[in-house]
């Protein structure tokens, strides 16, 4: 519990320091906004319409494969911690788990979901 107290304080401080920098910049710097300055910077062209671009599905697919991997890895970490006291068949179960994970990768690969186009 004590280590979490320290980490909580540390995280609060790590939010505080950059916030302090931002506030410092805000107060010490000049502030003279005008319409041209606060315009969106899009290569000097006038911005037409709302910011909206139809993005590629590709981004979703990368994030999706990442999500699946992330969750499976969360399962693997306790297994790795317990590893030294596991019998061989338990190690094998972990290996089966990793092989299934690899199968997911192979499917996404074969399907072309991981190819940037």
């Amino acid at each position: 519990m004590n280590s979490w107290l320290y980490i909580g304080i540390f995280v609060a401080l790590s939010l505080f320091f950059p916030a302090l920098l931002a506030v410092l910049g805000w107060f010490l710097g000049p502030r003279r906004p005008n319409p041209v300055k606060t315009d969106t910077y899009e290569c000097g062209l006038e911005t037409v319409g709302e910011t909206w671009v139809q993005f590629k599905i590709q981004y979703y697919l990368f994030a999706l494969v990442f999500l699946i991997f992330d969750v499976e890895l969360v399962f693997l970490y306790p297994w790795a911690v317990a590893y030294h006291s596991l019998p061989l068949y338990a190690v094998a179960e972990g290996v089966i788990f990793i092989v299934l994970l690899a199968a997911a990768l192979v499917y996404a690969w074969r399907k072309g979901a991981l190819t940037w186009s």
Binding site: E50, A63, L86, F97, S117
Partner: protein, 169 residues
């Protein structure tokens, strides 16, 4: 009031407020950001419950992956970046009444049960290793462990199949 109780109440207030904003704010990206705050609050609850591993797993899985995926999809399924008009349907009053009734019922149920005021013991130092052992032990959770892997594999295959067509490439 002990320090722990103050931390608990602060976390509860922040979490529930954030959760409330998730379901009421009209801007979808803001809803996703409030969801992150709520999920982070839940991670703090896990720490208070001495489940450190689950707390970091919560941050990795929910904030690092699920919330990012949701923000991606919000931005992908969008004709304009701004949301206009009310985001709740006309049935919201009925939903509110039903939710309030359910909350009342749940509180009544919790209060009428005889619940322990303090934990029966401490969490052992080796709890993560115990979890690891239980996950692969035949007397423990080896079937759910492998099934979870198959489930995630199936989810990946299904999701890639549904979302991905050659037309996109």
């Amino acid at each position: 009031m002990t320090a722990m109780q103050i931390v608990f109440i602060l976390t509860a207030v922040v979490t529930l407020f954030a959760a409330f904003r998730v379901v009421t704010t009209p801007n979808m990206i803001h809803a996703a950001l409030w969801l992150i705050v709520a999920l982070f609050g839940v991670a703090v609850f896990y720490i208070l419950l001495s489940a450190s591993f689950l707390a970091v797993a919560q941050v990795i899985v929910y904030i690092g992956a699920i919330a990012i995926l949701m923000m991606f999809v919000i931005m992908l399924t969008r004709r304009e970046m701004r949301d206009r008009g009310p985001q709740t349907g006309p049935q919201w009053k009925w939903a509110a009444i039903l939710s309030a009734l359910l909350f009342g019922g749940l509180v009544w149920m919790v209060e009428s049960m005889a619940l322990p005021a303090a934990p029966v013991g401490d969490v052992p130092e080796s709890s993560i290793a115990d979890l690891g052992k239980a996950l692969v032990s035949p007397n423990g959770f080896v079937i759910p462990f492998e099934v979870a892997s198959v489930l995630l594999l199936a989810a990946l295959i299904g999701a890639v199949y549904v979302a991905w067509t050659r037309r996109n490439s």
